[in-house]
């Protein structure tokens, strides 16, 4: 055991002296996580859940309907913030929608909109094309839909109020009925009914929560994903040290020394295991401190990181056993890491993938690791639920070791 530690210690010392490898192990993943997290945070829900919308509005209506629409659009709540930019005419609104990337939708409220609604109510007809809503063609931006729904809701409520006023007038005008002059305030009736129509339903529905929400903070996905991704790339360097020692002759020199050959290999693997574990631990610690990572359960996280490091070490020695030179190693590691990361959930949550792809992904260790990490960090799973992933990672490592020992060559095969 002492010999294993001596060899591992020497490898760790070599890594310590190699500033480039430290940069690649820690700085590069952190930079990538920060950049992607800040750039694409909203794809995962983002650290802030508030949706922000900019609307260009031209309110040419002097009545209460135009004012009601503008008021309804001016929202500043936890989940939604709409900023209304007012313009004089329709041309300015359409220009903004067409040319400004900041403006999500446009609304034009023509003059006489209020009068038209009242007249339609009196006549018992449904008005058409009262307000113009503008968005980019073939636009699937949900923010435009939100604005359209708000405008439609206001018009509907005003129509409901106008219809109510029409009914009141009808009752007053029936033979035998008499409504004293100036006792019927049409605008107040329309407004009250409209408000009740718009807001009454909201207060009547109680908002409750139950179970666990599938909350995807961008960094909850990105930190483990890229940590695993770069840890797997780290096996390239660790595997390369074995091949480098073979090529440089130090491996042979150690085999000539009074140590068991499996102690030599054990030392190299111990160093790789420690380095992988340190790399993962540091990335998660920084993720927790800098990106407010929700780790779920620390003991379960540590167990998963240990198992992942073990499996990565096994994969490393398996790769070394089937390649002969460092030049052969690079493309093979790149292929294995990129494919297993892509389908294994390193770049997006594994549970978003089709079931068949999740099954195929289990051929790589990334899927086992990410399923466990997504489980504790996003889905709130307990230990028994992530136990299959832990056992999967350990089995993965053991299988790799067994296959590697079958093919690993200590001595030269030719003269």
């Amino acid at each position: 055991m002492r010999t294993i530690w001596y060899i591992a210690k020497k490898d760790l010392l070599q890594t310590l002296k190699d500033k480039n490898s430290f940069f690649f192990m820690l700085a590069v993943p952190l930079i990538l996580i920060a950049v992607i997290g800040l750039a694409f945070g909203n794809l995962f829900g983002g650290t802030s859940s508030q949706i922000t919308i900019n609307v260009a509005v031209s309110n040419q209506d002097s009545g209460y309907v135009g004012a009601a629409i503008v008021n309804a659009l001016q929202i500043n709540a936890d989940q939604l913030k709409i900023t209304v930019h007012q313009y004089q005419n329709a041309q300015q609104v359409t220009d903004q929608v067409a040319n400004s990337s900041d403006v999500n939708a446009g609304v034009v409220i023509p003059a006489g909109t209020t009068d038209n609604i009242i007249a339609a109510a009196r006549n018992g007809t449904t008005p058409k094309n009262l307000v113009q809503f503008y968005a980019l063609p073939s636009n699937n931006d949900p923010r435009a839909t939100i604005v359209q729904n708000i405008v439609t809701g206001v018009i509907s409520s005003q129509l409901a109020g106008s219809a109510a006023m029409g009914q009141v007038s009808g009752v007053c005008n029936q033979p035998g009925n008499h409504c004293a002059q100036n006792t019927i305030n049409a605008q107040k009736i329309i407004s009250s009914v409209g408000q009740a129509s718009a807001a009454g339903g909201q207060s009547a529905v109680q908002s409750l929560t139950v179970g666990h929400a599938t909350k995807i903070n961008a960094f909850d996905q990105l930190v483990p994903g890229y940590a695993i991704f770069f840890a797997l790339f780290g096996i390239n360097a660790a595997a390369a040290t074995i091949l480098e020692e073979k090529e440089e002759g130090t491996f042979r020199r150690l085999l000539i020394a009074p140590i068991h050959k499996y102690a030599l290999l054990g030392g190299k693997l111990l160093a790789q295991f420690i380095l992988t574990l340190i790399q993962l631990s540091v990335l998660f610690a920084i993720g927790y401190l800098a990106f407010h990572l929700d780790v779920g359960s620390w003991p379960m996280l540590i167990a998963l990181l240990v198992a992942t490091s073990f499996a990565a070490t096994g994969l490393g020695i398996l790769l070394v056993s089937i390649v002969k030179t460092r030049r052969q190693l690079n493309p093979i590691v790149s292929l294995v890491v990129l494919v297993s990361s892509a389908i294994g959930g390193a770049w997006w949550p594994l549970f978003l993938e089709p079931q068949w792809m999740q099954s195929v992904a289990k051929l790589g260790l990334t899927a086992w690791a990410m399923e466990g990490l997504n489980g504790i960090m996003i889905l709130g799973k307990d230990f028994t639920q992530i136990l299959p992933d832990l056992l999967g990672l350990l089995a993965y490592g053991i299988i790799c070791f067994v296959i590697a020992m079958r093919f690993f060559r200590f001595e030269q095969k030719t003269a």
């Binding site: 010999t3 020497k10 002296k17 130090t250 020199r253 000539i256 020394a257």
Partner: protein, 272 residues
């Protein structure tokens, strides 16, 4: 006066006269076959204690394979080597503690400095902390690089790296030193320093097996010399004995030097 020795590529090994000294190393009928290729064919010789034994031969002659079997890196197909009374085949761990190997390549950790390299190999050879400290200082002074002990190996010249390569092999004070072309690619000054070091080791009683392609090195250093070709020893003896050889079949004149003899025995065909 010793009788001149004869050689025969066909009849196999010729045992070395020991000058009355006890044999420190006995190579006994070593054979190594890789798949269907017989790289070493029944090689036997012995080396007296405190001798420098030169093993010469063209590329592919089987020198390195022989050395690899002698230091237990390769398992012989048949045969054995006895070093200081220990069988390499049956007691490899004990043998490894009494031998030192200076490999042909510069087998050092070049990111580490001399002391760190020596510290690591001292740990591997089971030296205590105090032994490692003392021995590291001694061998660095021995090879003349104590002042550069904290400089990374990668900043050293080729000759200096060769001297550290030698220092590591000497760290655990081996009784038997195998040196596989230890002066390849070094400048004359470093080569001279290495020669002086080897002669000092010999004077201290260390038994040395030395392989080289430089005939003048063998002429200067070696008590006995064996020439290998195509997996066999084809000539063996002291320098004088070898130079006295005549190729009876080819009617070749007595060679003027080891280089000429070497070419006579191994031919002029280029080797891979």
């Amino acid at each position: 006066m010793e009788p001149p020795i004869s050689y025969s590529p066909q009849t196999g090994p010729i045992h070395l006269p020991k000058d009355g000294r006890p044999a420190s190393v006995q190579v006994q009928h070593l054979v190594k076959t890789f798949d269907k290729i017989e790289a070493v064919k029944d090689v036997s010789f012995s080396i007296g204690e405190g001798e420098i034994f030169g093993l010469l031969g063209p590329n592919g002659a089987g020198k390195s394979t022989t050395i690899n079997m002698m230091c237990s890196y390769l398992k012989p197909t048949t045969g054995d080597t006895i070093i200081d009374g220990l069988s390499v085949t049956h007691e490899p761990m004990k043998v490894k503690r009494v031998i030192g190997v200076v490999p042909q390549e510069i087998a050092l950790y070049k990111d580490l400095n001399s002391l760190e390299n020596l510290e690591f190999f001292g740990e591997i050879y089971g030296l205590s902390r105090q032994e490692r400290k003392t021995r590291a200082r001694d061998v660095l002074q021995f090879v003349g690089l104590y002042e550069r002990r904290k400089d990374p190996i990668k900043t050293f010249s080729g000759g200096m790296q060769r001297r550290i390569n030698l220092a590591i092999a000497l760290l655990h004070q081996p009784k038997f030193l195998l040196m596989d072309e230890p002066t390849v690619g070094v400048d004359p000054q470093s080569r001279e320093h290495i020669f002086a070091t080897i002669e000092q080791l010999r004077d201290q009683g260390t038994t040395i097996l030395y392989t080289t392609h430089y005939m003048e090195e063998a002429e200067r250093l070696c008590n006995h010399i064996a020439i290998m070709n195509e997996g066999r020893i084809i000539a063996m003896g002291t320098l004088e004995q070898l130079l006295a050889l005549r190729d009876q079949t080819r009617e070749v004149q007595r060679p003027h030097g080891l280089q000429e003899l070497f070419i006579q025995l191994t031919g002029k065909t280029l080797r891979d």
